[in-house]
C-alpha cells in the first residue's frame, strides 16, 4: 500500500449533552490511499457520520475529540487550530451532506454558493474568474443551462439538481478527498443512481479519494473499493468490497446482510432479524458490543473485547473483531434461516375496487389570487385489491401513491371515480354508515410518532378509536389493548408511557397496534419501514406478515423500496405521475416487467451484491419526473422513455394484458423479453 492520504488512528469522540456523555467513537482506525474509495456502513447511531465529521472538525455542539489522530497531508487535523482546518475544508477535502434541501443557503444564489470556496481558497482568482469556474463546475456536474442556473436560488431546483449543486460546491477546488455523508438517501431511486454515477465519473476524472458514508448496503456494494462496517462506535469489520459481500466474517455483518429483503429466499419466508437494540453508548459496554444481540455469543464475548485482527486466510486485506467468526468455508445459505412460514391462503374475493380514480389539487398563488392550474396527483387509476392479499404500490416521490392511499383510507375525496368496498361506495353511505365503515380501513404511517399526540399516553392513544366507535366497556377495551400489545411484541406496561419514549422500531409496532385496534379489514401502510434500519425493518415486515396471516388482514402497502415490496407483496402496482402503468402478480412484474418504466426502475436499483450487477444488461432510467402540474400528453412516461414514438405523445396507452390475464400494462409498446434473473 502506498503512503496513505488519510490515516485515522485510534480516534475517540465524545458527545456531551446536559444529561450524559455519549462515547460516539471509541478507537476508530482507518486508512485511505490516494484515489481510493472507502465505504463506511452501519445502522443509525453506529458512529459512521461522526467519523466523517471529525475528519473535518465539524462535530456537532458538545462533540469533542478525546483521543487519537486524524493524519492528512502530514498534519493532525484532530489537533489542528481553526485556520489550518479552514484551509483544508473545501480546499483539499470537500464534503457533501445528506439533505440537499437544507444544506444549501436559501437566500444565496447557486452561483454565489458554488463560487464561494474559490473566493476563499483561490485568492489569486478575480471575482469574474471564480464565477466562470463555478459555472464550468456546474456544467461538469450535469446541470442543464448552467449559466442561467447560476442566478437561481436553491428552492427553484429539484432535489437531484440541488445535490448536484452541493457536489459542485464540494469539488470546485478539486480536492484530494471527497467525504459524502449519505449523499443520496433523501433522493429517489433514479436520481440516486444519477448522482452516484456522477460522483463515480468525477472521482475518476479528478483522481480523488472518497469516503462514502451510508446505511444503504446496495449503494456501498457498487461504488467503493473497500468497506468498513461500524457497530456501536467501533469498526467491526473491514475488507475489500467483494470479499466482504462474498464472505462476511463478523457475526454482525452476517446478520445485517441476512436481514435484507433481497436476501430472503422467497417472498414466503420470514426475514432474518437481529433481536434487541444497539447498546447505549453513554456507558462503555464491556466485551464485544454486539454480544447481547449475537446468537453465537459466549462468556468470553461478554467479558473480553475482541480486537480488530487480520483474517487468517486473506491477511490484512480483511480484518474483523470477532471471537467466533463465520467459518471461512461457510456459504451464505448457512445463516440461521428462520422456519418457513406457511404459504398464504389463496386470495379471496375483491375487497376494494378503484374505478377510474382521479384526484386533482388546485394550484394557488395565495389567499387572494386565483387558481393558477391543477396538479394531477392521481390521473385515473383502476385496480382491485383482494381480501387477504398484500397489494404493493411502488413509485417514486410525487407519483401519487400516497394520495391514492389517502383516498382509499377515506381521508381525501376523489375528484372523480369511485372506491368500492365489497361493491359499496362510501360516498353514497349515510353518515352513520360511513362512520361505521371507517373502522374497516385503518392507516399506518412512515413516522408513527408524528402521527400520535405527544401528550397522550400509549394506552389512551390505542383506546381512542375504540371510544370513538363505542366498542365495549372500558374493561373490554383495556383487555383488547393488552392483547394487541402482546401481538405486536410490546410489553403491556407500554400503555403508561408516551410515544417519544420508544425507539423507531417500537413506534412502528405501536403504529401497527393502533391501526389494528378496530380490527379493520384493510390496512393502508404508507412507507411503514422507510425510516427504519435494515435489522429493525426486517422485524416489522415479519410482524406485518405474521399478523396478516393470523387476522386475515389485507394490506395496501405503499413504498418506494422495490425490494421491500417484492418481499411482502402478492400483487404489485407501479405508479408514474398519477398513472398506474403496470400491475400484476409480484413475481411476474419483477421477472418480466412489461412497462419500460418498471424495467427502468428495476435496472436502476442498487443491488446489495457487487457481483450481481455484472453481466446484467441494465439500462437505468435517465432524466427527471416532469411536474404533475403539467403532465406530458398521451403517455406520461414518454419524455423519459427510450422507446417513445409519435403515438405515445398523442394517445394515452390503453390497458392490455399481453402476458397473462392478471398482468396489466398501460403501454403502446409493452416489453416482451423477460428480464434476466437477479436479486431484485
Amino acid at each position: 500500500m502506498t503512503e496513505p492520504l488519510l490515516r485515522i488512528e485510534d480516534l475517540r469522540v465524545d458527545i456531551a449533552s446536559r444529561e450524559r456523555t455519549v462515547h460516539a467513537l471509541d478507537g476508530i482506525s482507518l486508512e485511505l490511499a490516494p484515489g481510493e474509495a472507502l465505504g463506511i456502513v452501519g445502522e443509525s447511531g453506529c458512529g459512521k457520520t461522526m467519523t466523517a465529521l471529525s475528519v473535518l472538525g465539524l462535530l456537532p455542539p458538545g462533540g469533542a475529540v478525546t483521543g487519537g489522530r486524524v493524519m492528512f497531508d502530514g498534519r493532525d487535523l484532530a489537533a489542528a487550530p481553526a485556520p489550518v482546518l479552514q484551509d483544508v475544508r473545501g480546499n483539499s477535502i470537500g464534503m457533501v451532506f445528506q439533505d440537499p434541501l437544507t444544506s444549501l443557503n436559501p437566500t444565496m444564489t447557486v452561483g454565489a454558493q458554488v463560487a464561494e470556496p474559490l473566493v476563499l481558497h483561490r485568492p489569486e482568482l478575480s471575482r469574474k474568474e471564480a464565477w466562470t469556474r463555478a459555472e464550468e463546475m456546474l456544467r461538469l456536474v450535469g446541470m442543464p443551462q448552467p449559466a442561467e442556473r447560476m442566478k437561481a436560488y436553491p428552492h427553484q431546483l429539484s432535489g437531484g439538481m440541488r445535490q448536484r449543486v452541493a457536489i459542485a460546491m464540494a469539488l470546485v477546488c478539486e480536492p484530494k478527498l471527497l467525504i459524502a455523508d449519505e449523499p443520496t438517501t433523501a433522493l429517489d431511486v433514479t436520481t440516486q443512481h444519477q448522482i452516484l454515477e456522477l460522483i463515480d465519473g468525477l472521482r475518476e476524472r479528478l483522481g480523488m479519494a472518497m469516503i462514502l458514508v451510508t446505511h444503504d448496503l446496495g449503494v456501498i456494494a457498487n461504488r467503493v473499493d473497500r468497506v468498513a462496517v461500524m457497530y456501536a462506535g467501533k469498526v467491526a469489520e473491514e475488507s475489500d468490497v467483494r470479499g466482504l459481500f462474498a464472505r462476511p466474517r463478523h457475526r454482525y455483518t452476517e446478520a445485517l446482510f441476512a436481514s435484507l429483503p433481497e436476501r430472503a429466499a422467497d417472498s414466503g419466508s420470514a426475514l432474518h432479524t437481529i433481536p434487541g437494540l444497539p447498546p447505549n453508548l453513554a456507558a462503555r459496554p464491556t466485551g464485544c458490543r454486539f454480544a447481547p444481540r449475537c446468537t453465537f455469543a459466549t462468556d468470553e464475548c461478554r467479558t473480553r473485547e475482541p480486537r480488530l485482527a487480520d483474517d487468517d486466510v486473506r491477511g490484512g486485506e480483511h480484518r474483523f473483531a470477532c471471537f467466533h467468526p463465520v467459518p471461512d468455508d461457510a456459504s451464505e445459505a448457512e445463516v440461521v434461516v428462520p422456519p418457513a412460514v406457511p404459504a398464504p391462503r389463496a386470495p379471496g374475493d375483491v375487497l376494494v375496487a378503484l374505478d377510474s380514480l382521479v384526484k386533482e389539487f388546485p394550484l394557488k398563488g395565495g389567499a387572494f389570487s386565483r387558481r393558477r392550474g391543477t396538479v394531477s396527483a392521481v390521473g385515473g387509476v383502476s385496480l382491485e385489491i383482494r381480501r387477504g392479499e398484500t397489494f404493493g404500490m411502488v413509485g417514486e416521490s410525487g407519483c401519487g401513491k400516497t394520495t391514492l392511499g389517502r383516498i382509499v383510507a377515506g381521508l381525501e375525496e376523489p375528484t372523480a371515480g369511485v372506491v368500492r368496498f365489497e361493491g359499496h361506495d362510501p360516498a353514497r353511505m349515510s353518515r352513520a354508515e360511513r362512520r361505521a365503515h371507517r373502522r374497516r380501513v385503518q392507516l399506518m404511517f412512515q413516522d408513527s410518532t408524528a402521527a400520535m399526540d405527544p401528550r397522550m399516553r400509549v394506552g389512551e392513544i390505542l383506546r381512542e378509536p375504540l371510544v370513538i366507535q363505542g366498542v365495549g366497556s372500558r374493561a373490554d377495551q383495556e383487555k383488547l389493548i393488552a392483547e394487541l400489545l402482546d401481538a405486536v411484541g410490546l410489553p403491556r406496561g407500554a400503555v403508561r408511557r408516551y410515544p417519544h419514549e420508544f425507539s423507531g422500531g417500537q413506534r412502528q409496532r405501536l403504529g401497527l397496534a393502533r391501526a389494528l385496534t378496530l380490527s379493520p379489514d384493510l390496512v393502508v401502510a404508507d412507507e411503514p419501514v422507510s425510516a427504519l434500519d435494515v435489522s429493525v425493518q426486517a422485524q416489522i415486515l415479519n410482524l406485518m406478515r405474521e399478523l396478516q396471516r393470523e387476522r386475515g388482514l389485507t394490506y395496501l402497502f405503499i413504498s418506494h423500496d422495490l425490494a421491500v415490496v417484492r418481499h411482502l407483496a402478492d400483487t404489485v402496482g407501479v405508479m408514474y405521475l398519477g398513472k398506474l402503468v403496470e400491475s400484476g402478480p409480484a413475481e411476474q412484474v419483477y421477472a418480466q416487467p412489461l412497462h419500460p418504466y418498471t424495467r427502468g426502475l428495476l435496472d436502476t436499483v442498487n443491488l446489495p451484491d457487487p457481483r450481481a450487477a455484472e453481466g446484467l444488461d441494465r439500462t437505468p432510467l435517465e432524466g427527471e419526473t416532469p411536474s404533475a402540474a403539467k403532465p406530458p400528453s398521451g403517455c406520461r412516461f414518454r419524455t423519459r422513455c427510450p422507446m417513445a414514438q409519435e403515438v405515445c405523445a398523442t394517445t394515452e396507452p390503453p390497458v392490455s394484458t399481453p402476458n397473462s390475464a392478471g398482468h396489466q400494462v398501460a403501454c403502446h409498446f409493452p416489453l416482451s423479453a423477460p428480464r434476466l434473473a437477479s436479486a431484485v
Binding site: L85, D87, R89, G90, F97, P106, T107, L120
Partner: protein, 316 residues
Amino acid sequence: MTGFLVKRFLQALVVLFLVSVIVFTLLHLLPGGPARAILGPKGTPQQIEHFNHQQGYDRSLPEQYLMYLKRLFTGDLGESFKLNSPVFDLLKQRLPKTLLLTVLSTALAVIIAVPLGLLQAVRRGKASDYALTGLAFLLYATPVFFLGLIMIILFAQVLPILPAEAPQGESVGELLGDFTGLVLPVVTMAFGIVAMFSRYMRSAVLDNLTEEYVRTAMAKGQSSRRIMVRHVLRNALIPLATLLGLYLPTLFSGALVVESMFNYPGMGLLFWNAAQGSDFPVLLGVTLVVGVATVVGSLLTDILYAVLDPRIRSVA
C-alpha cells in the same frame, strides 16, 4: 416583483376601506352622537336637531357613509372643537414629526439590536450573554415613562448636557436643526425597541446556527465571522422583518407617551391633549392614521420579506 407590489398595494386598499368603515361606525357610536359631543350637555334638542340636519346626520347611514368617504377623499376629517382648526391640517402638521421620531428611534434601535443579538448568540451561555440578557429584560420591563424620567434626571438635571424638552419647531427641518433636543426622546424610545429586537435577533441567529447550510458553509472552510456576516445575518433578519412591520403601530402608541413626556409636538401629543379634552374628531382622525400605519407596516413587512427571502418572491 412589481406585480407582487401592485397586488399587495391593492390588498392594502381593501384593508384601508375596512378601516374607514370601522372608524365611521365608531363616530356613530359616540354617546349622544356627535352633536351631543360638540354642543355639550347644555345643548337644547332644537340645537341638536339643527346641528344634525346641518351636518347631514339625520340621513340614512349608507348615505352618511358616502358623504364621509367623499369628505375623506377631499381630505376633510372634520374640525377640532378645541383647537378650532381642521383635523387634516393638524395631522398634516404633526404626522411628519411623529414619523421622524419613530424612524429615528427605530433606526437607532435596529443599528444597536442587530449586532447586539449576533454578539449574544455567538457568546451564548457566557457571562456577557447573561449580562446583556439581564439588561434587555430590565429595559423591556421598564415602562417608557419611567425610563424617560430617569433619562431626564440623569442627562438634564444631574448632568445637564441635554435639554429635557423636545424642540418646538414648526417643521421637521426645524426639529432637526435643534438636534440636541431630539436626543433624549429618540434614545428613550429606542431603548425599549432595542430590548425586544435584540432578543429576537439572538434567537433567530441561534436557530440559524443549527441549520445545515451553516455546516455546509463551515465545510467550505470559512471563518465563523465570515459565516455570520455572509450566511447567517440575512437569514436571521427575516423574522426581524416581520416584527418590525407588526411593531410599527405599537411604536406610534409608544410615541404617545414619549411625546407627552418631552412635550414633543407630534401626533401622540395631539392625541393625548384631544383625549383629555374629548376632542372626538381629532381622536378619530388619529385612529384612522394609526389604521393606515398598521396597513403600511404589514406592507413594509411583505416588501422586506420579499427582498430578504427569495422563496417568498417566487411564491408571490
